[in-house]
């Protein structure tokens, strides 16, 4: 994407980096894109957003039960932790780490509180990712 992304979109990504929403892993992701795989970053972050939304839905369902299966909850959080680490979504990753601690302690209250935080940080980053992709698409159409 470093080669094919528009400057304005890179600027958007830079602001996400400077506010701590993303870390240097996102820059590494950009470097994996090339001409033979020009949609790699767009596809990866789209998938991250879709998977993350599904995960938050599953976590909400599971924590809504009186008897919580913390192993199942931890499995979902771990998957989101991995995905967020891979795309550089720093705040989501760090929130997942906290979440896993509450799963280990089998604390439903702790998990519920952290889920609220996770929702906020996830939708913040996924919203910005979607804006970034939209900007990229608009730029691409404008230059056709």
């Amino acid at each position: 994407m470093a080669a094919t992304m528009k400057l304005s979109t890179l600027g958007y990504a830079a602001s996400m980096l400077s506010t701590g929403l993303l870390d240097e892993q996102f820059q590494k992701l950009l470097l994996l894109q090339n001409k033979s795989d020009p949609n790699f970053v767009a596809e990866t972050i789209t998938l991250f957003c879709e998977d993350g939304e599904h995960t938050i839905g599953e976590l909400t369902k599971r924590l809504d039960k009186q008897c919580v299966n913390f192993d199942e909850v931890a499995a979902f959080v771990h998957k989101l932790e991995g995905g967020s680490a891979s795309v550089g979504a720093k705040r989501v990753k760090n929130t997942c780490i906290q979440f896993l601690e509450f799963c280990k302690e089998k604390s439903r209250d702790g998990c519920l509180k952290t889920l609220d935080t996770l929702r906020v940080v996830f939708y913040e980053v996924s919203g910005k990712f979607k804006d970034m992709l939209q900007l990229e698409q608009q730029q691409a159409e404008a230059t056709k």
């Binding site: 994996l32 998938l47 991995g82 891979s86 795309v87």
Partner: protein, 137 residues
């Protein structure tokens, strides 16, 4: 390990239930012209070996549904697949012991670094070439 033909790609198997992480690792391995197969859990991976498929390297996540990474490694090694390089991967460092105990060759914390993955792939290419030279001699 698959036999070496000059210029033949390294056959890599990615075992991970996360599509995002599979996508990122696939992009890395493509940089090194690997032939890539993916599986969503350890059971699918074991099934591939039972069907006679061969790989040079397996990247295996620890926590997966149906069958975990370490459990699948045990089964694969028990099938006599002692030459395939198995790299355990997980977020955080605390999965290392679980992997090494069951016969993984290496552990990499996620997110993986391109240069580290590249060095592992280069090592496999050298080893395959050496094995091929030994067989031909």
């Amino acid at each position: 390990m698959t036999s070496y033909v000059e210029g033949s790609p390294v056959k890599a198997l990615i075992v991970d239930d996360s599509a995002v992480e599979t996508m990122v690792l696939t992009a890395m391995l493509r940089k090194f012209h690997c032939e890539i197969t993916t599986a969503k859990n350890g059971k699918e991976a074991v099934q591939m070996f039972l069907e006679g498929k061969k790989f040079d390297i397996i990247f295996r996540e620890k926590d997966m549904p149906v069958m975990s990474g370490p459990e699948a490694i045990e089964k694969i090694r028990a099938l006599g697949e002692i030459h395939v390089k198995i790299v355990g991967v997980s977020v955080g460092d605390n999965a290392q012991e679980a992997f090494m105990r069951v016969g993984a060759d290496e552990f990499l914390p996620k997110p993986m670094k391109l240069d580290v993955v590249g060095a592992i792939i280069q090592e496999i290419i050298k080893k395959k070439k050496k094995n091929n030279d030994t067989v031909q001699a």
